[in-house]
């Protein structure tokens, strides 16, 4: 009996001209998702830290929410890697025998450090709330109530001191952790860029600018996602308020005011990082064209012919330029912001796509091309994991997690 053959990549790779026999698009949609998701994590955290560390008061309302949201995104940064590994059960070996000359080996360490920082920061932010809840739920005799109470008791780690001194210590700890967190978040994502930038075999990836470009676009996408989620939640609240009390009610107007205020202020940061990201990418492109190394011929044909629409129309045009203009035109409305944010998120996704898939669009022989066909309808585990539905699973997970975590760590109350 011959075992079933599975040539990884054969299913979705189409070769043209001369490509080495062993070359396939080995890194597919999940590796597009991976830097995209870590980017969202890092971006969300940086946004929350801007308030905690630098005291950007205008971000106060976003801070708690984006902190909790970055916790929800944490496991999702790991998911694409698990989906992508040919031996997913061995993934933990990265923690057991890390080979630190590899950029991926740092993942275990950096990612865990970051996770610890996010979770500790949340613990300090919510400790008071835990302790209060333990007290409040004391009289709740229902099963759900007592389970919830026990969860809070475990989460509180026995630290029930709510004196001014203790709470002040919490605040200080949050500030320190957020301060450490910014460089770690930057590093987490910068090194995702390093994973690509250090592959000398790949002409498109190899660039010292890659980590910086990745950080900038990570912050852009992180801010955009937080803003978008915030808008959706506020709209939902407004909708409920309208249902309950009518359109002209004071609460509705108050909500609208708060929402718009937060948006205009956060959008400013978004634009700043967007400009930085685009400038770096342009610098990279110009440099490659000007120095015209051996690989430039094939890179040029990929960028200006094979992938022109994906790079210049979808990524730079629709994903960067259009939202940039939309956010700059005065008299920002919520609807316009939502469209612009969706485009920004799409643009960053296309950037990841064009780096990961685009980097494999040409053969190492520089004499042929590979075309990627995303598996849509899965017909085995592989085409699910590395197909559209695998990617959608990854994309949906943070929202499902947020729905769950928000029950324990409410981050959307107006009065905090």
């Amino acid at each position: 009996m011959t075992p079933e053959l599975f040539v990884h990549g054969l299913e979705w790779t189409e070769k043209s001209l001369y490509v080495y026999p062993n070359e396939f698009i080995y890194w597919s949609i999940q590796i597009v998702m991976y830097p995209y998701m870590t980017g969202l994590v890092a971006g969300a955290f940086v946004l929350s830290s801007l308030y905690h560390v630098f005291g950007q008061q205008d971000l106060k309302d976003m801070a708690r929410f984006s902190l909790v949201f970055s916790l929800c995104l944490l496991p999702v940064a790991m998911m694409p890697l698990q989906f992508h590994l040919q031996q997913p059960l061995r993934g933990i070996e990265v923690m057991f025998t890390p080979h630190f000359t590899s950029a991926i080996a740092a993942f275990g360490i950096v990612f865990s450090t970051y996770a610890v920082i996010v979770m500790s920061e949340i613990w300090f932010v919510y400790r008071t709330y835990f302790v209060e809840q333990i007290g409040e739920l004391k009289n709740d005799t229902s099963a759900a109530g007592s389970i919830k109470r026990w969860i809070y008791i475990i989460l509180a780690l026995g630290a029930s001191d709510l004196s001014d001194k203790a709470v002040a210590k919490d605040k200080k700890a949050v500030k320190i952790l957020a301060g450490i967190g910014i460089p770690v978040a930057g590093f987490l994502h910068g090194y995702a860029g390093f994973i690509f930038g250090s592959v000398k075999a790949n002409a498109l990836w190899m660039s010292p600018l890659m980590p910086v470009i990745f950080i900038m676009s990570a912050v852009v996408s992180g801010i955009a996602l937080c803003m978008l989620t915030y808008i959706i939640i506020m709209e939902w609240k407004k909708f409920q308020a309208v249902l309950a009390r009518g359109k002209g009610d004071e609460t509705v107007l108050l909500l609208r005011g708060v929402e718009m205020d937060v948006m205009t202020k956060t959008a400013r940061y978004l634009i700043m990082f967007l400009v930085a990201a685009i400038s770096l990418e342009m610098l990279d492109l110009i440099f490659r064209g000007y120095t015209a190394m051996k690989s430039w011929d094939i890179l040029r044909s990929v960028m200006f012919h094979e992938d022109f629409v994906k790079i210049f129309v979808l990524q730079y045009g629709l994903g960067n330029l259009v939202p940039f203009i939309m956010l700059l035109i005065p008299g920002l409305t919520i609807r316009r912001t939502v469209i612009a944010l969706c485009l920004v998120l799409f643009g960053v996704f296309m950037m990841r796509w064009n780096v990961v898939i685009g980097g494999q669009a040409f053969s190492l022989s520089f004499a042929g091309f590979m075309h990627y066909h995303l598996p849509i309808i899965p017909h085995n585990l592989e085409t699910f994991k590395e197909g559209l539905f695998g990617a959608l699973t990854v994309a949906a997970t943070p929202f499902v997690l947020f729905w769950g975590i928000n029950k324990l760590l409410p981050s959307l109350d107006l009065k905090h």
Binding site: T2, P3, L5, F6, V7, H8, G9, L10, L17, Y18, Y20, P21, N22, E23, F24, Y26, W27, L81, H84, L85, Q86, Q87, R90, G91, E93, V94, F96, T97, P98, H99, T101, S102, A103, I104, A105, F107, G158, S160, I195, S198, V199, K200, A201, N202, K294, S363, L364, S365, F366, A367
Partner: protein, 259 residues
């Protein structure tokens, strides 16, 4: 109440910590390991090197066939540890390259990807066998996150099939495209210079299968070895020198069109 719990937690943690610290120290400093660190893993005094004479290759593909059978790489999978490329260069300087099924069945058709090239236009044509270069500075080993691929003391890069996590980073890092996922074991796979043969004094399967002597393997550290002598006395080239990988597969008669 809370105080005693805290005490309990603390002492438990302290105990675990105290237990784990010497434990981890033991892991890094065990005598067996530090002894192993000075041991060389390959045949002492050996550095395996390879010669490919492109002037001699006729494109029969016997090497690819033998390699696949010897090393249990599924015969009909389009991946292979070694392959043969055909280059046809025409009067206008254009080059046509192909390697159908890695050249496993030889080159019997003058057409390249179905395209007929007028014979009178052809100015030169040749075959180039490829295999792992067993680089002195292998990027694939450098990027392995878990230590599943390594270089032996005699210079061969191997993959530990029981430890590879299948991330594909090594495949991406190789500028020569010699690595792939094994269709059955689902881990990174590559040419081993037939390590099981060369460490028994045999030649690799591809060297043995080549009727024309286009492939040779030998010990670069032995001055009497024919391969070492060719590398020392003749003009040989390596593939993609610019990557700084220091390949140990040397080519005679390499053309500028070779990718």
């Amino acid at each position: 109440m809370s105080c005693s719990r805290r005490k309990f937690l603390k002492s438990t943690l302290k105990g675990t910590l105290a237990a784990s610290v010497p434990l981890s120290a033991f892991r890094f400093l065990s005598p067996a390991e530090s002894r192993a660190a000075t041991e060389s893993t390959g045949t002492p005094g050996t550095r395996w090197g390879f010669i490919v004479d492109t002037n001699k290759c006729v494109g029969c593909g016997f090497c690819v066939k033998a390699c696949k059978k010897e090393n249990e790489v599924p015969y009909d999978a389009p991946v292979t540890r070694t392959w043969v490329e055909r280059y046809v260069v025409t009067r206008d300087g254009k080059d046509y390259i192909d390697s159908p099924m890695g050249g496993r069945d030889g080159f019997t058709d003058p057409k390249i990807r179905g395209e007929e090239i007028p014979p009178e236009e052809i100015t030169k044509a040749f075959f180039v066998p490829k295999l792992c270069n067993q680089c002195e500075n292998p990027p694939c080993v450098q990027v392995c996150p878990v230590g599943a691929t390594y270089q032996t003391g005699d210079g061969v890069v191997l993959v530990d099939r029981s430890w590879c996590i299948g991330c594909g980073y090594c495949i991406m890092a190789c500028p020569y495209g010699v690595r792939f996922f094994h269709p059955v074991y689902r881990v990174a796979e590559k040419c081993t210079f037939c390590y099981h043969r060369i460490s028994k004094g045999m030649k690799t399967a591809c060297v043995d299968a080549c009727p024309f002597g286009a492939r040779q393997i030998g010990n670069l550290l032995d001055p009497e070895d024919p391969v070492a002598q060719i590398v020392q006395t003749q003009r040989v080239a390596v593939l993609k020198d610019e990557y700084g990988t220091k390949p140990q597969v040397f080519y005679i008669g390499l053309d500028k069109n070779v990718r």
